[in-house]
Symmetry: C2
Subunit: 333 residues, 2 copies
């Protein structure tokens, strides 16, 4: 059986807004030496003309930046669960160079995994003109809608800002799902089991031909003395109802709304606006993230390069808690 | 939204085994005068040769027994939620007479409702040779299996014993689901939400042609200051999994097992063996019932006549909490 954690989570992952004085607490600005090292690694990797998947960490020697990245991984796994690396020179890189440099950094952080049915390892988070979140055939990252608090499927998500939203919006918000659990335990203990049971999510047309178009996933799981969270997009729950024929109960709707409300509290959430060259890294196990809606300038779309990855310190989680943690299966060719 | 009761239930419905000294606390033996009155009403109703559905309370005048039945309804709705009327002369009645007399009593208790897709208003609880509970095309009352604690769909269930099990078994067990809730609240509060969300149940081939073969129902609901329970057969949950493709989570299995374990505690449950002529009446809103497996004598099957009914004091419950409370839709002709 799955047990429910009935003690508060302590330590740096259970942070609150007041634990930070400002962005200096989580922004790590890369030094000129680190940028130089990255450019040199990029140049040597480009010369080899290998596909991304064929490259290894050894193809991107980063003796100094590598130590910074190791500290970032430690912050993600054992600290507050998020960090921002600032100053990647995305404006002077070509799109291909940005992609390759990002990949090189990713190999130092962990193992990138597929993010969708096309098997994409680096995906553009931007408006694809496929409509909004209410379109059950599209995924959230392909819209410019406000996204409520959620996690992605992998352990770690990286968002490298290439271009911000010209007409404003797209503010990033984070909250500690450990702090949300502490709040639920203290004030709504009778609801906890609902989150451990979880919800049924729509695969949003990404299922294989022999698979059901939905699956159940827990929001919280307590394994080996560690609490982990998977809070996928509530819109995927709503669109799954049409496929299962099983409506959400009033208590489930209440629990979903309550999770958002607790995460959104002023004393819980932090906000940040990513600049071009900022790489935001989040540990989905302990942090939920969202963003406000945004508007693009004509012909210049907000563009974040997204990575999903698992690091070398990845915690043990059963398969049925985080089914796509090691990547979304490639079901389209 | 549905709210969760976070105070203990008090009053006679939250009983424990030690609240009773023995069956004298719940058995009401009918007097010779009451039996005589019933026989007279039976005779006058038979002469009219009307179908059961055409008869009304006025066709069964029971001035004395009627008062006893009113007290039974009060016990069901406002008291401990169960009672046994003893001494119905089923052994000298023909099967048709027993059926008609039972119907007459039922009209004094409340309104009988359909129990299955055939629209049966009085069903025989006996072994139909359709296999056991594991056959997903049969319902529990048609087997001789042990039945774990459960409720039926209507508010009230009546079981009139025509014949016991010749080779033993079939012992009836009851527990207060109000006491189970009190225990959960005190010792497993974090699980309560799971019961208020409920489970998905198999319709067991009784769905209409335009209906899904399963539906979700809550175990507990708190409405208008009153807690109510619907804990349908766990076997129906298991067989629904094959139809939805959504497996039970570990925490759901734990919650289902825990409910049984709490109800089965020696300090919670009471046991009784029904004799021919015993009419056991239970309020599903506050009492769960089960029975042990049994073996029949060759050619003489254990036979209980079952009624589902709603009484004039029926509590207000939303439709989505107890969908078939007013009867299982007749979908077979």
């Amino acid at each position: 059986m799955t047990s429910i954690l009935t003690e508060p989570v302590t330590g740096p992952s259970a942070w609150r807004a007041a634990d930070f004085t400002g962005e200096d607490d989580w922004v790590v600005t890369l030094t000129p030496e680190e940028i130089h090292e990255l450019d040199a690694a990029l140049t040597s990797a480009r010369i080899r003309e290998l596909p991304l998947e064929a490259l290894t960490m050894a193809d991107f020697p980063l003796p100094a930046l590598g130590k910074t990245l190791e500290r970032a991984v430690q912050d993600l796994e054992f600290g507050r669960g998020f960090t921002v690396l600032r100053g990647l020179p995305v404006e002077r890189w070509t799109p291909d160079e940005a992609r390759l440099a990002y990949w090189g950094i990713a190999l130092h952080l962990g193992t990138p995994v597929s993010q969708n049915a096309d098997g994409e390892l680096i995906a553009h988070v931007k408006d694809y003109d496929e409509g909004g979140l209410d379109n059950p055939a599209t995924r959230a990252y392909r819209t410019r809608n406000a996204l409520p608090f959620h996690t992605d499927s992998s352990d770690i998500v990286g968002l490298l800002c290439l271009r911000g939203a010209g007409q404003g919006g797209g503010v990033s918000t984070l909250a500690s799902s450990m702090t949300v659990h502490n709040h639920l335990l203290a004030h709504h203990r009778e609801l906890l089991g609902l989150y451990y049971r979880g919800f049924v999510y729509d695969r949003r047309t990404e299922e294989g031909s022999q698979e059901l178009p939905y699956y159940r996933n827990a929001v919280y799981g307590y394994f080996d003395g560690q609490l982990s969270c998977r809070f996928y997009m509530t819109h995927y729950i709503e669109s799954a109802v049409a496929k299962t024929g099983i409506p959400l109960s009033g208590i489930e709707r209440h629990a979903l709304r309550l999770f958002q409300d607790i995460a959104e509290r002023d004393d819980h959430r932090v906000e940040m606006t990513l600049r071009p060259g900022d790489l935001q890294l989040l540990n989905n196990n302990v942090v939920v993230h969202g963003r406000s809606a945004y508007e693009d300038d004509p012909g210049r779309r907000r563009d974040l390069l997204r990575l999903w990855l698992n690091t070398r310190y990845a915690r043990c989680i059963p398969e049925d808690f985080a089914r796509f943690r090691r990547g979304m299966p490639r079901t389209r060719r």
